[in-house]
């Protein structure tokens, strides 16, 4: 667009009066940059309009100046107060946020540690109870072995060998003074299903029941001490035991 064409559009006048759209204003500013003498022209129009306004000036009420200035002071004071009250320094905001995140992480680790510790504690507690139980058992067994040991070492304890077919052997440890006895099934086979071993003492030619023997070929089995017994016999009986021995099923026997 040439300078003359631009002048004819009247954009300069509208620009001076603030009537141009933002796009038009930009265009005018561009033209003023391209043609510096247009700028002078435009400035001339602006000064002209300023003079026109001055010619139509009305003195405002004398109090207006004070109220304008105090309104600005008031707004400035309010904004300053707002800034002081509500603005948090950047470093403080950042450190507060960092602390919060840190605290969250810390809490999480503590919580995780606590629940881990609780789990471990539960496991340890179970293990400890088991260990205590085992310990008690060992203690009991030790006491049993100790008493059995002292019983076996007792000079008054006699070893009675009960023998049967095929070199089967059981040994009864007999102590009249202590009125106490044990049985050890050395190589007797386990009783068939539905059967049980039962022990009998021969007292005055009568077979007196000494009870059913619970089969265990490793441990010493406690048996009653029968005074005046002449011999000890083990028979195979129906499960639950019998009142009278089945002599045909006599497995081992030994004379005291």
């Amino acid at each position: 667009m040439t300078k003359e064409e631009f002048i004819k559009t009247g954009l300069c006048e509208q620009y001076v009066l603030g009537l141009t759209t933002p796009e038009e204003s930009e265009f005018v500013e561009e033209m003023l940059q391209t043609y510096p003498d247009l700028k002078g022209d435009c400035r001339g129009l602006e000064n002209c309009m300023e003079k026109y306004a001055r010619a139509h000036a009305i003195p405002p009420p004398p109090t207006l100046k004070k109220s304008v200035l105090s309104k600005i002071d008031e707004i400035e004071a309010r904004e300053k107060a707002a800034r002081n009250n509500y603005s948090i320094p950047k470093w403080a905001a950042i450190s507060a946020a960092a602390s919060l995140i840190g605290l969250l992480f810390f809490s999480f680790f503590i919580w995780e540690g606590k629940s881990n510790a609780e789990n471990e504690m539960a496991i340890l507690s179970t293990e400890f109870k088991q260990f205590q139980k085992d310990c008690e058992q060992v203690q009991n067994e030790k006491m049993i072995y100790a008493s059995q040991n002292s019983f076996l070492k007792d000079p008054n304890t006699t070893h009675i060998h009960l023998r049967g077919e095929n070199n089967t052997l059981a040994i009864a440890y007999w102590n009249e003074n202590k009125d106490k006895a044990y049985l050890k099934l050395e190589n007797l086979p386990a009783p068939p299903a539905g059967k049980t071993y039962q022990m009998w003492a021969d007292i005055d030619n009568k077979m007196v029941d000494m009870g059913v023997i619970k089969f265990d070929d490793e441990k010493m089995i406690s048996i009653p001490h029968m005074a005046n017994a002449a011999s000890l016999n083990i028979t195979l009986e129906e499960e639950g035991g019998s009142d009278h021995p089945d002599v045909s099923q006599l497995k081992v026997s030994g004379v005291i």
Binding site: G10, G18, N47, A53, A55, H56, I58
Partner: protein, 193 residues
């Protein structure tokens, strides 16, 4: 004390509050003249002036002198504030058909106008009424060119042309006035001797 425009602008850019008082002293009567004519109420005009000066204070650092004179910038802020007030209040069209001179001189004649400008005012009467009308409607009453075209029932193109001619004419008048004042001053000085 009169400050140069560049000094005032520098203060504005530095957020120096003294700039507001200086601007007020130098431009308030011209701005108030425009605002009063647009809103046609002393009370509303004072409100508009307060709001406009707050805007000037807040926007002061953004004023770019390469885009226009300080007065044009101030006037655009003030005029827009006045027009917004008028539109929001909904009393935009009251007194639309009143003559500017009747309106102004009836209401504020007691306070009077700047005596320095009386000569200029006489000269302005030389401006053809049809041009003056367009300028005044836009400048002093907040009309858009389109509204002027509707109000006066003339094509928009004609409004634009009249506005352009009016401003050129006004410029001529003010340049002549400047010369007349200068000649008057020279004569006065010569007469002293």
């Amino acid at each position: 004390m009169k400050f140069a425009e560049s000094q005032i602008v520098e203060m504005l850019h530095q957020n120096d509050k003294r700039a507001i008082a200086i601007i007020y002293d130098q431009y308030a009567p011209s701005l108030y003249g425009v605002v009063f004519r647009i809103v046609q109420s002393e009370e509303v005009a004072q409100d508009v002036m307060q709001d406009a000066f707050v805007k000037v204070w807040k926007k002061g650092t953004t004023y770019n002198s390469s885009k226009g004179t300080l007065f044009t910038w101030l006037l655009n802020i003030t005029r827009n504030t006045a027009i917004d007030k008028l539109r929001s209040a909904g009393f935009r069209n009251s007194g639309k058909n009143q003559s500017i001179d009747n309106l102004v001189y009836n209401k504020v004649s007691s306070r009077g106008t700047n005596p320095d400008e009386i000569g200029v005012k006489d000269l302005l009467n030389d401006l053809d009424e049809k041009y003056r009308e367009v300028v005044d409607m836009i400048y002093f009453r907040g009309f858009t060119q389109k509204e002027v075209s509707e109000e006066l029932n003339i094509p928009l193109g004609t409004v634009k042309t009249r506005l352009r001619i009016a401003l050129r004419e006004l410029r001529g008048i003010f340049e002549v006035t400047g010369t007349v004042v200068l000649l008057f001053l020279i004569n006065s000085i010569l007469l002293l001797f």
